[in-house]
Amino acid sequence: MKELFAPGHRACAGCGATIAVRQVLDAAGENVICTNATGCLEVTTTPYPHTAWGVPWIHVAFENSAAVASGIDAAYNSFIKKGLLKEKPYIIAFGGDGGTFDIGLQALSGMLERGHNVLYVCYDNEAYMNTGIQRCSSTPIGAATTTSPPGKFSIGESRRKKPIAMIAAAHDIPYVATACIAFPADLKKKVKKALENTPSFLHIFAPCPTGWRTLSEKTVEIARLAVETGVFPLYEITSDAPLIPKITKKRKEGKMVEEYLQLQGRFRHLFKPKKRDDVIQKIQKEVDEKWKWLEGLNEMAR
C-alpha cells in the first residue's frame, strides 16, 4: 500500500495528530485533496521545500480550513459543469482543536451549512500546542496549560470541553463521528463513511506528549484509556437518527478516570503535593453523567 504521508516530518515523537492523519489518508486513498489550518500539523509537515504530503495539500491561514475547502469544492463543481471531468475527488479539511473549536468555528459552520462535499477532520489535542500549550475551548476541566495554570486559586482549566461534534451535528449534516487514534479500524471505517456522506465531521482524539507532559511511547495507551474510561466517547451520528450519538464503543466497566489522569503531567497537580479527590471526583461525575445521557439517547433510539 502506498504511504501518502511520508515519514521524516518534524512532528514530536509520539505526536497523536500525525498518527491521525496517517490513518485518515490510509482510509481515504490517493484520490483526495487536503486543506490544513495553521498549526503544528501544517508547520511540522511542510517546511519549504519539503513536504510530507503525497496528496494535494493547501494551507492558507488558521481560521479558514473549511472555507478554503469550500472554494476547492466550488472550483470542482464548475469544472464538472464545464465537462472537464466527471467526478470530484474527496476533499478533506484538517484543523486542530484551536482551528476548529475556537477561531475556525464560523468558517466550519458556514461550510457545513452550505452543504459542501467536504469531510472536516478535527484532530484534538485539547490545547493550543503550536503556540506553547494555551487553553482552548477543547481543554478539559482540571488540565494545566500555560493560560490555565493551577495555583492557589485555580484547579487548572475550570470550564468543560465544548461539545464540538454535537455542534457539528446540529447543522443537520449527513454524518458526524468521534474517533480515536488508538482504534484505527474504527477510525478508518468512519472516515470511509464520512467521505461518502458529505458534508461530514470527524472529531479525532489525538494526544500530544509535549503538551500533556506524557511519555512519547504512551500516546496510544493514553488515547485508549480516554475511550475505555469514558472520557472520550466514540459515537457516530447519521441521518437515520439525527442528533442521536450512536455509541460505537462502550466504555470499560470499572475503568475510572483517575487511571487516565494520573499518567499525564497536565493533571499532576491533582495528585501532588496533595491529592485533589474533589476535582477528580468532579471529573468522574461529569463523565458518568455524559454516559448516562448517551446511553439514554441510545436506548431511546432503539
Binding site: 490517493e30 484520490n31 483526495v32 485533496i33 486543506t35 501544517e42 508547520v43 511542510t46 517546511p47 519549504y48 521545500p49 513536504t51 504530503w53 503525497g54 496528496v55 494535494p56 495539500w57 493547501i58 494551507h59 492558507v60 491561514a61 481560521e63 479558514n64 472555507a67 478554503v68 475547502a69 469550500s70 472554494g71 476547492i72 469544492d73 466550488a74 472550483a75 470542482y76 463543481n77 464548475s78 469544472f79 459543469k81 464545464k82 475527488p89 464560523q106 468558517a107 459552520s109 458556514g110 451549512e113 452550505r114
Partner: protein, 388 residues
Amino acid sequence: MEIVKGNEAAAIGAKLAKPDVVAAYPITPSTDFPEKMSEYVANGELPTTEFVPVESEHSAMSACIGAAATGARVCTATSSQGLELMHEILFIASGMRLPIVLYNANRALSAPINIWNDQQDSIAARDAGWIQMYAENNQEVLDLMIMAFKIAEDVLLPAMVCLDAFYSTHTFEPVDIPSQAEVDSFLPPYKPEHVALDPKKPMTQGSFGVPEVYQELRYMQQRAMEKASVVIDDVFSQFKEKFGREYNKIEKFMTEDAEILLLTMGSLSGTVKEVVEEMRKEGKKVGAIKITVFRPFPEKEIVNAIQNASVVGIIEKNISPGYGGAVFADLSGVLANKNHPLLLDFICGLGGRDVTLDDVKEIIKTCDDALEGDYERVNWIGVKEELL
C-alpha cells in the same frame, strides 16, 4: 449603450470574464455585485459558474484562494469593513500568487460607522501586494474589471478594482457593454501552470516559509509588480485597439503648461476636471491628474507629468493619522532625490462629505498662496469648526 448602476457595471464586467467561482458576502454599498452574480448563475447567463454565498468576507477571500489554487478563475466583491475583515487573507492571496479579482466599493471605515464614500478601506490594503485600480465612472469600472483578470493572470498577482461608494456605485450612467465574443477573444480562458489541487499531480501549496526562503518570495512579488507596470500598459493598449476606449495609468487633463496640478483618484476627478476647465477659461494655468493605477505606483508617469508644475495639490479621501494622506506619502517618496514642485496634501471627502466645486477652488487658492511661501503641508477641507 445601456444605463446601469456602478455596481451592476462592475458585475457585468465580471460576468463577461466568465469566472468559474464567485464567493462573496453582502455589504453596503457593494451588495448589488453578489446579487447580480447570483442572478446570472440562476438565470443561466453564467452556466458554469459556482456562486458560493459564504458566511463572511474572511471566508469569501479564503474560498477564492481555495478555488484559485485549484486553477479556477475567481472573483469577489466587498467594501469597507468587509475588506478589513479579509485583510489577513489579502496578503495570503498575493503571497500565494493567485490572480483573484476583487471589486471594492470604496467606503469609509468605522468608527463611527458610516456607509458613505471615502478611500480609506483600499488605502489601508495598499501594502497587501494587490494591483489596485480606481475607476472614475461606470464605464471605467466595467472595462477595468475585464482588464483586471487579464493583467492579474499574466503577472500572477491579485487585482482590486475600486469604485467610489454611492457617487458611482449607485449612480446610473450609460455604459457601452462589449459583446461576449469580443471579450472572449480579448480574455482567453485561464489555464494556470503554477498551481493545481489535483490528485493526479499532488502539489503542496502554502507551506511554511523559513527565513532561508521567505525574503526571496517577497522579492519576487515586488518584481511581479514591476512586471505588472509593463503588462498594464500592454493590456490597456490591446483594450484600446479592440474596444476603442483609452486607458492610462494616469490620466492627464490640461496638464500642458499647468502651474498648478491637482492629483486625485476616483470619482472626484470629474469635479476637479470641471473646475480646471472653468478656470482655464479664465486664463488660470491649472491642470488635473487622475491616478487610475495606484499599485504598482505609476512612478515614471507621475514624475514626468508634474515636473514642470510649480505646485501639486494631492486631493485625497484617506488619512493616516499622525502623518497625512497616503497618496501624498507615496508621491513624495518617489520624488525624493529629485527636484520637484511644491507638494501640498488636501484631506477631504471623508465618510461621504461632499467635495464641491467651491472646495476645489479653495484648494487651488491654497496652492496659489503656497507659491507666496505661506503653506501647511497637510490641509483639511471642509472641517466644521463648530463640531470640534
